[in-house]
């Protein structure tokens, strides 16, 4: 079959208008809190508010009496299994009397009332009798195992890589550096908090509308909690106001709480989290404490790397074991190293359970390893770009898990391009000149170079697949349904572009619907920068079959050769004929009863992996990025401003360049917040920074004045049109680039993120006092 005619302008790679923008700028877009049903009740949660203890009694009598309260539901009211957790189900839906409360945000009861205000007031009146137990509040304390949170040890997960022989590597090294790093929590801070509406539906089951990243997770969770077959649970994604991983597994919990109320009251139940409840109870980026040892030759070759990383899993494992897989694979960075030893451990504490967050366990270690490489380049007197270039992965290189890279390795090109884009040499001279004339402000240039494994990888390959359903209606409009979700990243626009490219219909005639489990089979989660590749391939496959039928029909109608038929921008033609509008051809297809719908299915290629040695094909392919930033540090306050940013990403192929740029800019600023200001503070297991006046995310006045980006397209043969992923890699290059820039500015190493003004001032003053 002939693919899209090369002489025509393709939709793929062109500048298009976001397909869901009109509804979003006019206020018509429906997010979960905007959906109302008759007889709907409003829910609020009763949380433990103690870090560790035995829940003796739940007394709802006072709350029950408030006018407008319809019900207060506890573990006794859960119809199915009182358990939650996508990967490890070690978390109760509602903590039962006699059981242990394991963190401040543990949910004990759900209140349903006539208004939000009444529900919240009643929730405050529910009395919990909790016998407090000593709490485990940090990684070191947890490792001592004096107080155990679950089972025999708090250190419950361990993964490793053993490649080559690190002791041999170190013995050959001219320079060995050892250091410790800490990457603290990060809150997703999506602007729309968690929210769902759950209603008993016309199929005698439950339907959920919600702010959801992974509808199939919600479906499976609800089916267990309600004791319903999955066929009686339908999940329809509402517009989702940002997710970043924070709406991966958490909406399963949110929907489960609301479902308990909906089930017991037989009424629609809505649960929208106030920001404080959202921050107290939902996942975060894992705090990771790491110890690095690296050996280098004097000309900068990395000879060995040894890493131990401990992650704080909080009170429940939730997604931590899979997050740790990514930590493991990314711990050694974006380099070709013969001798690698990595150990990652997951540790229980009496704190909020972290989970998925853009980068999924990799930003913490990429920050550390890039700090190490920067330090080595400084000590060896090698230019930071040359240092990376020397060790960068190329076609034919092997990764830290000994995976042979055979194609789409744009690493070196991103380094070349960022060098050029930032005018690296001249930039460094400019900054040095500034510093010679400045006493209280010091500037620094930082570089980072990162790798990111696309999609779920070896440990998630059993769920790495996606479906799509494409149907052409009688009027020529096209329905595209995918199992991936739109949460702001632009999935709908990419899918519409692919459908328009393949079918030749106008982009404006393609509707990508809200994800609905009733239409598309389990397509795995919308995570891991996999949607363009997985849902995209599924849509492309479905559209190709439809296209074949349209080509055949047109050739028959016009007695021409199928090879010469072209479809483009709403017209179909053959050779030099005058052609026919797409819509008319569809009319003909309907008259002739041609099948005008198709399902598409794409699954991950099989990855060979040995979990014992951590050796094998960790991911189907990798994205790469290189970044340069210039910071200015106020030596009196320790405050850092990012002045300039240059970032280059290898995305395989930019199907929607506008969307790629949006991800690059947004990921940078989110990474900047993580690196500098987003300091989640706790006291005795309670989060103190529970709203935006204390949890400090970047505003419009915090972004760099100079922001330049570059895109490298080193195509990947399995990806649609060569595409890989950009959703997460957009963030990861930033924390190490900023940390390295601060380190260069103040002449001391930054070992902790966020590098808040107070932390930086501490480092500046370290041995001065």
């Amino acid at each position: 079959m002939k693919t899209s005619a090369p002489e025509r302008e393709r939709v793929v790679g062109s500048k298009v208008t976001r397909v869901d923008a009109v509804e979003k700028v006019t206020g018509l877009a429906k997010y979960a809190p905007d959906i109302y049903f008759d007889r709907m009740v409003h829910c609020a949660l009763v949380i433990a508010r103690k870090p560790h203890g035995i829940l003796h009694k739940i007394d709802a009598s006072r709350a029950q009496k408030l006018p407008g309260v319809f019900g207060i539901f506890t573990y006794k009211d859960v119809p199915g299994k009182n358990r939650l957790g996508e990967v490890v189900d070690d978390m109760p839906c509602l903590v039962a009397e006699g059981e242990t409360v394991k963190h401040y945000g543990d949910v004990v009861a759900v209140v349903a009332a006539s208004t939000q205000k009444t529900a919240e007031e009643a929730a405050r009146k529910v009395r919990l009798t909790i016998e407090e137990l000593p709490a485990v509040l940090d990684i070191e304390e947890a490792r001592r195992d004096e107080i155990r949170i679950h089972g025999s040890s708090n250190v419950s997960v361990h993964k490793k890589i053993r490649k080559g022989d690190v002791s041999k590597g170190f013995s050959r090294a001219d320079l060995i550096i050892e250091d410790n790093f800490m990457a603290s929590y990060q809150e997703h801070a999506y602007i729309e908090p968690q929210g769902v509406v759950v209603l008993p539906d016309t199929d005698y089951g439950m339907t959920v509308y919600g702010s959801i990243q992974c509808p199939y997770y919600v479906q499976s969770s609800l089916s267990k909690v309600l004791g319903f077959p999955m066929s009686k649970v339908r999940i329809i994604q509402a517009e989702t106001g940002g997710a970043f991983g924070g709406k991966e597994d958490v909406p399963s919990f949110v929907a489960s709480y609301a479902a308990v109320a909906a089930y017991n009251l037989k009424r629609p139940a809505r649960l929208i989290y106030p920001r404080e409840i959202d921050i107290h109870t939902t996942s975060k980026r894992h705090p990771v404490k790491s110890r690095y040892k690296m050996g280098f030759s004097k000309d900068g070759e990395i000879l060995a790397i040894e890493v131990d990383a401990y992650m704080d899993m909080g009170a429940y494992a939730t997604l931590s074991p899979v997050v740790m897989f990514r930590t493991l694979v990314h711990a050694a960075g974006a380099y070709s190293v013969d001798n690698v030893s990595v150990d990652t451990y997951g540790v229980y504490t009496n704190k909020v359970p972290p989970g998925a967050f853009r980068g999924f366990g990799s930003p913490q270690v990429l920050f550390a390893v890039e700090s190490m490489v920067d330090e080595a380049s400084r000590r060896l007197g090698i230019d930071p770009v040359d240092m990376r270039m020397k060790n960068a992965l190329r076609e034919g290189s092997r990764t830290s898990t000994d995976q042979l890279l055979t194609e789409s390795v744009g690493a070196v090109e991103t380094l070349d391009k960022v060098n050029e884009l930032s005018n690296w040499k001249e930039l460094n001279e400019r900054v040095e000149a500034f510093n010679r004339g400045s006493l209280f402000q010091k500037r620094g240039v930082g570089l980072s170079h990162i790798i990111y494994g696309v999609s779920l990888g070896a440990q998630g390959q059993h769920i790495d697949k996606s479906g799509a359903h494409v149907q052409i209606n009688r009027d020529g409009s096209v329905d595209v349904r995918i199992g991936g979700t739109e949460m702001g990243q632009g999935a709908k626009t990419v899918m519409a572009i692919i459908a328009a490219e393949e079918l030749g219909q106008k982009l404006s005639q393609i509707v990508v619907h809200q994800t609905d489990t009733a239409f598309v089979p389990d397509s795995g989660p919308t995570v891991a920068s996999r949607t363009t590749m997985f849902s995209g391939n599924a849509v492309r496959i479905a559209c190709k079959s439809l296209r074949e039928r349209l080509v055949k029909l047109y050739a028959e109608l016009n007695s021409c050769s199928e090879d010469e038929v072209e479809l483009h921008d709403g017209m179909i033609s053959c050779g030099q004929d005058k052609g026919m509008p797409f819509d008319e051809l569809i009319e003909e297809a309907f008259k002739k009863n041609v099948k005008m719908f198709e399902a598409g299915w794409y699954q991950s290629p099989v990855l060979e992996w040995d979990p014992e040695s951590g050796i094998g094909q960790a991911y189907i392919t990798y994205s790469f990025a290189s970044q340069v930033v210039v910071v200015e540090v106020d030596m009196i306050t320790g405050n850092t401003k990012v002045l300039e940013a240059y970032t280059v990403h290898d995305v395989g192929k930019a199907i929607n360049p506008e969307g790629v740029i949006g991800q690059i800019q947004g990921g940078f600023v989110q990474g900047m917040g993580y690196a500098l200001s987003e300091d989640l503070k706790m006291l005795n297991g309670r989060i103190l920074t529970d709203n935006f006046n204390t949890y400090i995310i970047p505003t419009i006045r915090d972004i760099p004045r100079v922001f330049k980006y570059g895109i490298v397209e080193d195509e990947f043969s399995e990806g649609p049109y060569g595409a890989k992923g950009i959703g997460e890699p957009s963030l990861m290059a930033t924390p190490p680039a900023i940390a390295n820039a601060i380190s260069r500015a103040i002449g001391r190493r930054i070992r902790h993120i966020p590098a808040t003004p107070e932390y930086v001032l501490n480092v500046i003053k370290e041995d001065a006092e």
Binding site: K30, Y190, G662, G666, N691, F692, N693
Partner: protein, 158 residues
């Protein structure tokens, strides 16, 4: 209590509870769900509306305080002919929209600025939008969109 105010050019007379917030009146009683709630304490700007020409957080205002005022919400920006305001058009054209949850508030802040100043500098745009948090876009294109809308408005006035 009973209040009277102008809402997107129409007169509204309605009965409200004393302690109701302006945000809840708009969203729940009047069904104008374009105005969003992100934090409930005036830190995120998702609930921004324009009252007597000034951008304010509707989560920090009582409904009763709208009495006698003229209120604009995102729903009022699109004409009855469906024609969008230049700010809306520019947000689309410049790719300033991602998840969209902050966008109604962001657009109202921008509109309030442009009503007063059709040639804002970059600094003035940042000052007008500093109370609107966005977690998706990194703000770069939002600034470009406001600059673009300003130039369209200036062009239209010629």
């Amino acid at each position: 209590m009973r209040i009277n105010f102008r809402l997107n050019g129409e007169t509204i007379t309605t009965e409200i509870e004393d302690s109701m917030r302006a945000l809840d009146l708009l969203r729940e009683d009047l069904g104008l769900t374009g105005t969003k709630e992100g934090c409930g304490e005036g830190e995120c700007g998702a609930c921004t509306i324009i009252v007597d020409g000034n951008a304010v957080n509707s989560c920090l205002m009582l409904a009763a305080e709208l009495d006698g005022t003229s209120v604009e919400t995102i729903e009022g920006l699109t004409g009855s002919d469906g024609k969008m305001h230049p700010v809306q058009r520019s947000f689309i054209d410049k790719g300033a929209v991602q998840c969209g949850f902050c966008i109604p508030g962001m657009i109202m802040s921008a509109k309030s600025l442009l009503d007063k100043n059709d040639s804002p500098s970059k600094e003035e745009i940042e000052a007008a939008l500093e109370g609107n948090l966005c977690r998706c876009t990194g703000y770069v294109r939002i600034i470009e969109a406001v600059e673009d809308a300003a130039s369209i408005i200036r062009e239209d006035r010629k």
